[in-house]
Symmetry: C2
Subunit: 509 residues, 2 copies
């Protein structure tokens, strides 16, 4: 093991190189979204493709497979776990034909434009052929990866190892059972909070940036190992734990967008910044299937952290009782005469709408279920692409009680399907559900967590998360991590309890 030419050392060095290349891919991506002049897009696409191709080539080479097999001989304990994870990831990679990936990449380049035009013209028919082909390629992909019960399982498993359509169906049913009556009660109550002071006053971008930095730091985001920029779609991205960047978007007439966007991305960043230093450039910070340098163990687990900090902490009344004066110091004129209660009600207003990315915390998951159920049906062939608009509109009626006015505001609203991302949507809801399990476990296990949060002190919570989630990177699967720390697999009840408590109080139901 001390020998640099041992099979284990050589396997590790290939993984380290893959991580270096994928961190470089992340930087090329960050730059493309925040700094690059538009004209650079074509060349950037080629650079990204080359780097990814080299990683895939190295990880799927016969030479690497032989070394891995030799390294596995007699490996035990942590080393065996490390190699098992490398084996699992590269086995999946090897099953996916290069031809299929280049077909998907080619279609993506075209479908993005087709989708944009279709949305602009409210013309689903012009996008349908590309989407049909994308569904077909995703079915091929699922077959190549392999699955036991449902082709969707192969896809969702790439984002959320261990998740299946059957588990999601049960989860969704439970969630609907709690959310729909609650939503009905909120609507019946009819008490729309006043949010005009957030939209009708001028919030200068410079102040918003200051607030984003201040509140992201407050929850623990280390700006010495990161930075905040502006982008069209907010995101977090990392190049090892020592350089983890976030972006937010600034709307001068809707201040919460940047504030809660920053808390959301800071939650992602805490996860990446918190991974054990020893895990740098190992499989425990490398997604070998998604070919992505990331410390979070799954998309859902990652989202559980962004949602925890954005919603469970950041939209909670106790947080603002402690920190509202700091926000008022940044926006003295804009928040003059606005009390804490009014502010908290405004940033938690429930307003069922058509658009997922504008949805409130209570209705958000309904948007996700709708999409995931259609995806499953597309994958098993029980739904034809041409029937999507009708199915979409029907589910919107059923879940949200709304009539979709046009496909542009309906099934054409999200970019995801045009980019070939089938299977990722569900992780948003998984993250929501999981976020409450973490918070409840932290409160149970460390009696300081709850009283500290009441005072606006997030340190004990963050320490618990660091210990139980962040430091482990990808060492454990999402289920393992959750069971180790909370004693339970993913389960809807705590999340539903949280929603009920929260909205019954806010809306005095």
């Amino acid at each position: 093991m001390t020998n640099a030419n041992s099979p284990l050392a050589l396997v590790r060095s290939t993984i380290a190189e893959a991580n270096d290349l994928l961190c470089s891919v992340n930087l090329l991506t960050w730059d493309a979204r925040t700094q690059m002049p538009k004209a650079g897009a074509e060349a950037r696409g080629k650079m990204l493709a080359t780097l990814t191709r080299i990683v895939r080539h190295q990880l799927t080479s016969d030479e690497f497979a032989e070394r891995l097999a030799r390294a596995e001989e007699g490996a035990v304990g942590e080393v065996a776990a490390e190699l098992a994870q490398i084996r699992e990831g590269t086995d999946v990679l090897r099953r996916i034909p290069a031809r299929l990936l280049s077909d998907i990449a080619e279609l993506k380049a075209r479908a993005g434009e087709t989708w944009q035009a279709a949305r602009r013209n409210n013309d689903f028919g012009s996008f349908a052929p590309d989407l049909e082909r994308m569904v077909g390629l995703n079915r091929e992909l699922a077959a190549a990866i392999g699955f036991d019960e449902h082709p969707y399982d192969a896809l969702v498993g790439s984002y959320e190892p261990g998740m299946t359509s059957a588990r999601l169906a049960t989860l969704f049913e439970e969630l609907r059972g709690g959310i729909l009556p609650l939503l009905a009660a909120v609507k019946e109550r009819g008490a729309e909070p006043d949010t005009s002071f957030l939209s009708q006053r001028d919030y200068p971008i410079t102040s918003q940036l200051k607030a984003a930095e201040q509140f992201a730091s407050l929850v623990g985001y280390d700006l010495e190992r990161g930075r905040i920029d502006r982008s069209v779609h907010p995101f977090e991205i990392s190049f090892t734990r020592d350089d983890v960047r976030i972006t937010t978007r600034f709307n001068p007439n809707w201040m919460p967008m940047s504030l809660f966007g920053a808390l959301h991305e800071a939650g992602h960043a805490l996860y990446e910044q918190g991974v054990k230093p020893d895990y740098a450039r190992t499989v425990f910070t490398t997604d070998l299937v998604g070919l992505y340098a990331v410390a979070g163990t799954s998309y859902g687990t990652h989202e559980s952290q962004s949602r925890l900090w954005e919603n469970l902490v950041g939209r909670d009344a106790s947080f603002w009782r402690a920190h509202y004066s700091a926000l008022q110091a940044i926006y003295p004129a804009q928040l003059e005469g606005i009390g804490i209660d009014k502010f908290v009600r405004a940033v938690n207003a429930v307003r069922p709408g058509f658009i997922r990315v504008e949805a409130d915390e209570l209705t958000y998951n309904l948007h996700i279920m709708l999409r995931v159920e259609l995806e499953m049906a597309l994958m098993d062939g029980s739904l034809a692409v041409t029937d999507i608009p009708e199915a979409w509109n029907e589910k919107t009626r059923e879940y949200l009680g709304l009539e979709v006015p046009s496909n542009a505001d309906g099934c054409l609203q999200d970019i995801h399907w045009s980019t070939g991302l089938i299977g990722a949507f569900s992780t948003y809801t998984i993250g929501n559900v999981m976020s409450v399990q973490w918070l409840e476990a932290a409160k149970r296990q460390d009696p300081n967590v709850a009283p500290a949060l009441e005072r606006g002190d997030v340190a004990p919570l963050r320490t618990w998360l660091q210990e139980n989630v962040y430091q482990h990177g990808r060492r454990y699967s999402p289920d393992e991590l959750l069971v180790r720390a909370t004693g339970q697999s993913l389960t809807a009840a705590p999340y539903l309890d949280y929603l009920a408590r929260k909205y019954r109080e806010l809306y005095a139901i």
Copy 2:
């Protein structure tokens, strides 16, 4: 040739991948110098090392050598020229042992710190052992690359193909023959221009950035395919012709730094932005020896463009007669009451000093000669490292008429040697000399160039340079390019004439 698996196609695809990787290296470098949080440095170093190692590995593999040999069979015309260049570059690469490169890289990491401490403490002795080892490794490198007459030739040839110590010795002698008497005359004249308005008035950074953008655009830098940032040391860097970025530095109390810095880097950028689109991802935009994605055919040729736009155009009275009002509009209070002549004299003030990077146009080359002559002597063993301070101080006395007060202001002032860069200094002077050859040829060949410049219109000059220099990328060696366009190899006379004309007029000698 239309077959994607032909040896030629495979060779080209390896070069294209190398270019993609090296463009990625450039982006990692740009980010490290302009955006990266300091904590990211260690991981960044690993990413850079991995990408460079992969390029080197691919270009020096036996598989690539076999394909190249097969592609060369029967190749003629442009294809033969392309392959010859690939052959030449990769042959040099193959001759350099990996062990030597890792020794140099390891020493670099240490020597940078040793040098910084030595400069801080004004203690050459503490840097001498690392420098001695660096000289030793560079002699090994020269031996590996190979040379006919002088070990320095192997090193300078990596930056400036075709250049040798013998050619430089002749050039330097000619230059000194012209510059030293001119400098003596300027000193004797004793008319120090007033520059206080450039240093003692407040030039806000935002205005300086505006000026940098405006004047860089004015000479033709396309900001749609680039951007300007701030960095400690200004530089230009490209990721294909469609994304060419420059940086400058801003000193609120020395406005010319950012203004002429921007013109200098814009000159570099014009070269990169002007290369033929067909040359993207080919050997004609890839330095296979330096492992650097760059369109300019040599360091000296590149520098000839930055100096041409900064000095020959940007410091010329006619340029300011046309554009001074635009600068005054940016700095209305600061330049109030300062006439064009006063401004032009101030930005062309001659002030012999110890520090190369602060040197004026007339004395700059003396700083270079001093360094290059010491480098040559170190390489052939006629100078011992321990004797550097004495030799440095003696040459400073001889060339600049100054007594060096301390090694920190003398032989320890530049970072270059600590980073292993021996051989690069000379290209600054080569660029100066070459810049006048281009300008004179443009004026001779296109009668519109000179009258347009008199009016402040740089378009005809830029068009000539685009046609004769920029579009060709690395297709021709520096000598070929120069002879094709101007009819002459590198020659000192036009540059000396230019200096004499300029300073005799400015100083009324």
